[in-house]
């Protein structure tokens, strides 16, 4: 047995939790598993923020989950920028949920890494050195894409959510 882990997303003013999302498509609607063709972001504007957590539903006999790393692989379209609260230094601690916005985020302000970070960049209990020893969740991961007025096409890339598990 091993721990069971999923990614959850939180949307709307009611903080509706969609458990075990199937994608993290970014677009012009505050919804999980959104269709980016139906909800494209118009050039020069921002996608809605994504508010997500790594959720351990059961430890499965393991003793700890820690060292959370978040990054994206694959290029964005045009001059778009992908920003996040995840970072290895000057981590801001656990964010308190606020309704996702589609204007520039004041929380997601660091460029999303495009390769595996050296150390943890998302916290547990507000700390990058935190760990889960029972079922529970990470801090919120907040991320958003900002587009340029000259961008004409979207793109497909991969979000990586990595954890270490100790038996």
């Amino acid at each position: 047995m091993a721990a069971t882990v999923q990614i959850n997303e939180y949307n709307t003013v009611g903080e509706t939790e969609t458990a075990n999302i199937t994608n993290t498509n970014m677009g012009d609607t505050d919804a999980a598993n959104l269709d980016p063709v139906a909800y494209p972001v118009t050039p020069g504007n921002y996608t809605y923020e994504k508010w997500q957590k790594i959720d351990v539903t059961a430890m499965g006999g393991s003793s700890a989950i820690d060292n959370l790393k978040i990054w994206r692989t694959g290029a964005l379209g045009g001059s778009a920028a992908h920003l996040t609260n995840a970072r290895e230094t000057t981590y801001g601690g656990a964010e308190t949920f606020v309704t996702p916005i589609k204007t520039v985020s004041t929380i997601a302000t660091e460029t999303m890494p495009t390769s595996e970070p050296t150390d943890a960049n998302l916290g547990i209990g507000g700390s990058l050195t935190g760990s889960l020893t029972a079922a529970g969740s990470s801090d919120y991961l907040v991320h958003q894409i900002g587009t340029d007025g000259g961008d004409v096409a979207g793109s497909t890339s991969t979000m990586n959510y990595q954890y270490d598990e100790t038996a």
Binding site: M1, A2, A3, T4, V5, Q6, G14, E15, T16, E17, T18, A19, N20, I21, T22, A32, N33, T57, A58, G60, S62, A64, I65, D66, N67, A135, Q162, Y163, D164, E165, T166, A167
Partner: protein, 65 residues
């Protein structure tokens, strides 16, 4: 509080109820690895093994330092 199972679409008002439900799509609860393997074509177990390998390697490294 509203929790939606992304797989079967059922809506719950507590986390405990969500975790206990047997997903209609997989036949397992969200606390069972089989649930995630069914949804990922078995990739979850591979990812889980990799996470365990990383964690155990770090533990061994830390014990030597």
């Amino acid at each position: 509080m509203k929790i939606i199972c992304s797989s079967c679409g059922k809506v719950f008002t507590t986390k405990a109820a969500y975790l206990k439900h047997k997903c209609e799509k997989t036949g397992f609860t969200p606390t069972q690895a089989e649930h995630f393997d069914a949804l990922s074509g078995g990739r979850f177990s591979l990812q889980s093994q990799a996470a365990l390998a990383r964690g155990e390697a770090r533990k061994l490294k830390d014990s030597k330092e």
